[in-house]
Amino acid sequence: MKRMIAGIALALMSLTGPVVAEEFPERPIMMMVSYGAGGATDFQARIVTMTSGNEDALGMPIAIINKPGAGGRVGWNWFATQAEADGYTLAAYNVPHFIAQSIKGGVEYSTDSFEPIANWGADPAVFVVGADSQFNSMEDVVAYAKENPGKLTVSGAGLFVGHHIAALQIDKAAGTKMAYIPTKGGGAAAMKAVIAGEVMGGINNLSDAFRAQEAGNVKILGVADLERSSFLPDIPTMMEQGLDVDNSSVNFRGVMVPKGTPQDVIDKLAATVPEMFANDRVTKKMKAGGSPMHIMTRDEVKEMWAQRQQTLNELLAGL
C-alpha cells in the first residue's frame, strides 16, 4: 500500500514537472511589496505591472500583495524563507534598504537569497530645507555643520535606508557630524518635520521633494546622484558642490525572485520584464506621478547589487 501511494505521488510529481519556459506563465503571478498599500514602492509597483496581462508582455496579470512591517524586513524575510521558487512569486526590492539591513543583521536574507530580474525606478535622495531657511546651498549647510558639530538636525525616513546612507556619505565627504533624526512613518513624516521647522534640514526622496518644492514648502539644495535629474535640471549634484557623494543612496526599485527559481523561468522573466516596464502607458503614468524611471536589465542589476554591497560594507563598518 505504502509503495503504491509513493508510486502515485511520484507519478503526480512527474506530471507537474519542472516548468518549461515556453509555457510559463500559465496562471496569474503574485508580486510581494514589503511596504504598505499607498506607499511610493507600492504605488509604482502597481503602475509598472499594469500591462503584464498584454500579449507582448507576460500574458498573465500580476497581482500585488503587501506584506509591510519593520522597514521592509517582514516582507523580505517571508520572501527569502517561505516564498515558492517557481517564478509565480515575485517581489519588489528596494536597494540600498535590503542590502543595508542584511549587513546590520537580524534578518534572514542577503543579496545571495534573491535573483534580480529587472530594475524599474531610481529615486535619488535630495537635501531639502524649509522654504525660509538660512541655507541656500550645500556649502552653507556644510559650513554650519562644521561650526556646530552635532547640532545640525537632519530628518530622514529611518535608519539604514537611502536617506541615512546619504547623510553618512555627506558626513564622510565633508568631515562633519550632523544629527540624523530617523522618523517613524517614512518619508512623509520626515518631510513634515522639515516643513514644520522641527528640524533644520532633511534628506528625502527626489519625487516627494519635487512635489513639496512645487508647492512652495521647501528648497532643494543638492541631489545625491551622479547626474542631475530631469525633474530638477537646475539643482546641482553633491559632486558638483564639492562633496564626494556618489549614487549609493539612490533608492533603486525593481523585481526579483527567490534563489532556486528554475533558470529558464528567470531567463524568460529577465527578457520580458524590462520591455514591459518600457511600455508607453507605463512610462506616461510614471512621469505624471513624478516617479523617475530607470530601467535596468538583470545583468546590470546584478552588477549594481554587488557594487552596493561593497560600498555599504565599508560605510556601515564603523557603526
Partner: protein
C-alpha cells in the same frame, strides 16, 4: 464659497453613479471584518486608472467616508470593530444590540456619523488654511504629550476598577513593543517570524473583541436553546432623529473631539472615537449607564470617527503630506492622474479638488440614507441562535485577520490574544484599555525617542519637552485628567463604603 460652483459636477450621471457605487460598496467593505478604510480605498485605486481624475476621486472619497461609518455595523452587531476607529462603538453599541435594540443603535450611529462627517467636511472647506498651520504645530514633543493624555484615559475606560484598567493598559503597552522597533530597528520579543512586524492592530482588535465573545457563546453550550433568542425591537427613524437632537452634548463633544484629533498627523482617527467616548462619559449626567447599552456612547464614538475624516485630509490637500495611512493611499490616487496635492491642486485643478470635497459631503448624506434603510434589516442578525452566531463570528474573525495582509501569522496572533482575553475578562479586565495601550504605546515611544534626539542636538530634553505654550497646555490637560480620575475614584470609594456600612 467656491465649492458651490462645483456641485453640478457631482450630479453628472457617471459621477453620481460612482458616488452611489462608492457609498454602497464602502458600507459593505466597511462592515466586513478586517477590511479597514485604508485597505478598502487601496483596493479601489486600480479602478480609478480608467477614470478621469475627478471621477476617480469621487469614488475614493465616497468609499472612505462610508467605510468609516460601515465599520459600525460589525462593531454593533458582531462586536468586531472593523477598524480602530470603531472600538468605542462596540462598548455600548453591542450591548444595545444584545438587548434587541440593534436597530436603534445602528440608526443612531449612522445619524451621528452623518452629522459629524458633514461638520468635518465643512471644516475642511472653510478653514483649511488655518487648520493647515495648526496641523504643523504638532511636533514630536506635543504628540508625545498627546499620547500621554490618551494613557490617562486608560484607567477609566470601560473598566469597573481603575487598577485593572491600568493593568490591562500596561499589557497593551507591552504588546506594542513586540517586533522591530520603528526608529532604531532593534528586535524586541520576536520569538516567531510572524511577530517581526509587531502585532497588527486589526488582527489584535478582532482577537480581543470578537474571540472572547465567541468562546463565551460556546461555553454556554447547547442547553437553554431558544431562550437566548432576542426579540428585535423595531425602531422608527423619526424616534432616532428625536433622540439624537436630545443628546446634543454627546453629539457636540464627539464631533468637536473628532475634528480636532483628526487634524493631528499620525494620531488621527485611531483614537478619536475612544477619546470622544471618554470625554462624553466624564461630562455626562448618566456616567454609570455607559457600557450598559447607553445611546450617548454610540453617538459620541460615531460622530467623532466620521468628523475626523474631513480634517484628516487637510495636511494632504494643503501641504501634500499624508497625515494618515488612508490619506497616503488617496495621495497615490491623485498622483496617478498627475495631480500634485498642495497649492497646485486648488489653483490649477479646482474642479478636481472641489468635486472631491463635495462628493464627500454628499457621500455622508447618501451613506446615512442607505445606513438607515438597512439598519432595521441588519439588526435581525441578533435573532440568529447563539450557537450558529458563534460559528459565523469565528469564521469572519479568521477571514478578517487573514485578509489584513494575507498571512496566517496574523490569524495565530488573533487566536492567542483572543484566548488570553477570554481568561482576562473572567478576572474583570477589559479589552478597550488594552487596545488603547497597544495604539498609544508606539506613538508615545517614537515621538519621545525622536524628540529626544532633536533635543539632544539642540536645546536639551528638559526645555524641549517642558517649555512652549502648546507643551504646557497639554501637560495641564494631562494633570487635570489624572486629577479628575483620582478624585472620581476616591468619591466613588467613599460612596460604596458608606453604602456597604449601611447594608
Amino acid at each position: 464659497m467656491e465649492f458651490i460652483y462645483y456641485f453640478g459636477e457631482v450630479f453628472t450621471p457617471l459621477s453620481f453613479l460612482l458616488l452611489l457605487g462608492g457609498t454602497i460598496g464602502g458600507l459593505i467593505l466597511g462592515a466586513t471584518p478586517g477590511l479597514s478604510p485604508t485597505m478598502a480605498v487601496a483596493l479601489l485605486i486600480p479602478f480609478t486608472f480608467q477614470l478621469e481624475a475627478a471621477q476617480g476621486l469621487i469614488l475614493l472619497g465616497a468609499a472612505y467616508t462610508s467605510t468609516v461609518a460601515g465599520g459600525a455595523v460589525s462593531a454593533i452587531l458582531l462586536k468586531i470593530p472593523g477598524a480602530p476607529a470603531n472600538i468605542a462603538t462596540t462598548l455600548d453599541g453591542h450591548t444595545m444590540a444584545k438587548q434587541g435594540q440593534g436597530a436603534r443603535a445602528l440608526q443612531l450611529s449612522f445619524l451621528a456619523s452623518a452629522v459629524g462627517g458633514v461638520f468635518g467636511v465643512l471644516l475642511l472647506i472653510f478653514l483649511t488654511p488655518v487648520l493647515a498651520k495648526w496641523a504643523l504645530a504638532f511636533g514630536p514633543s506635543h504628540l508625545f504629550w498627546l499620547a500621554i493624555l490618551g494613557v490617562t484615559v486608560i484607567g477609566t475606560l470601560d473598566s469597573p476598577s481603575v487598577v485593572k484598567g491600568l493593568l490591562s493598559g500596561c499589557i497593551g503597552l507591552w504588546l506594542a513593543t513586540i517586533g522591530f522597533d520603528d526608529i532604531m530597528g532593534a528586535q524586541r520579543f520576536i520569538f516567531h517570524p510572524a511577530l517581526g512586524g509587531g502585532i497588527n492592530i486589526i488582527a489584535a482588535l478582532i482577537g480581543l473583541f470578537a474571540i472572547p465573545q465567541v468562546l463565551t457563546m460556546f461555553a454556554k453550550g447547547r442547553h437553554n436553546k431558544g431562550a437566548e433568542v432576542i426579540e428585535v425591537q423595531r425602531h422608527s427613524i423619526l424616534a432616532a432623529i428625536r433622540e439624537l437632537t436630545s443628546r446634543t452634548r454627546a453629539l457636540g463633544i464627539g464631533t468637536l473631539t473628532g475634528s480636532i484629533i483628526g487634524l493631528i498627523p499620525g494620531v488621527g482617527g485611531q483614537i478619536a472615537g475612544l477619546v470622544a467616548y471618554d470625554q462624553t462619559k466624564k461630562f455626562s449626567a448618566e456616567k454609570d449607564k455607559f457600557g450598559t447599552g447607553h445611546s450617548e456612547g454610540v453617538i459620541a464614538a460615531e460622530s467623532a470617527n466620521n468628523a475626523m475624516v474631513g480634517p484628516s485630509l487637510v495636511p494632504l490637500l494643503t501641504l501634500s503630506i499624508p497625515g494618515s495611512p488612508t490619506a497616503a493611499v488617496l495621495l497615490g490616487g491623485l498622483l496617478i492622474h498627475g495631480i500634485f496635492p498642495g497649492s497646485d491642486l486648488f489653483d490649477n485643478h479646482p474642479d478636481v479638488a472641489w468635486t472631491f470635497i463635495n462628493s464627500m459631503l454628499i457621500g455622508q448624506v447618501l451613506m446615512c440614507i442607505f445606513g438607515l434603510y438597512v439598519a432595521g434589516l441588519a439588526a435581525r442578525v441578533a435573532q440568529v441562535p447563539q450557537s450558529v452566531m458563534a460559528a459565523i463570528v469565528l469564521a469572519l474573525s479568521v477571514f478578517g485577520a487573514y485578509s489584513v495582509q494575507g498571512s496566517m501569522g496574523d490569524v495565530y496572533v488573533m487566536a492567542c490574544l483572543g484566548i488570553s482575553m477570554f481568561f482576562l475578562e473572567r478576572f474583570g479586565f477589559s479589552a478597550a484599555p488594552l487596545v488603547l495601550g497597544l495604539i498609544l504605546g508606539p506613538i508615545a515611544e517614537a515621538n519621545f525617542i525622536q524628540g529626544g534626539m532633536i533635543a539632544d542636538a539642540t536645546v536639551g530634553k528638559a526645555s524641549y519637552f517642558l517649555t512652549g505654550g502648546l507643551n504646557l497646555l497639554l501637560i495641564a490637560v494631562v494633570l487635570a485628567s489624572v486629577a479628575y480620575s483620582v478624585w472620581m475614584e476616591l468619591l466613588h470609594r467613599r460612596y460604596t463604603t458608606k453604602e456597604e456600612a449601611q447594608a
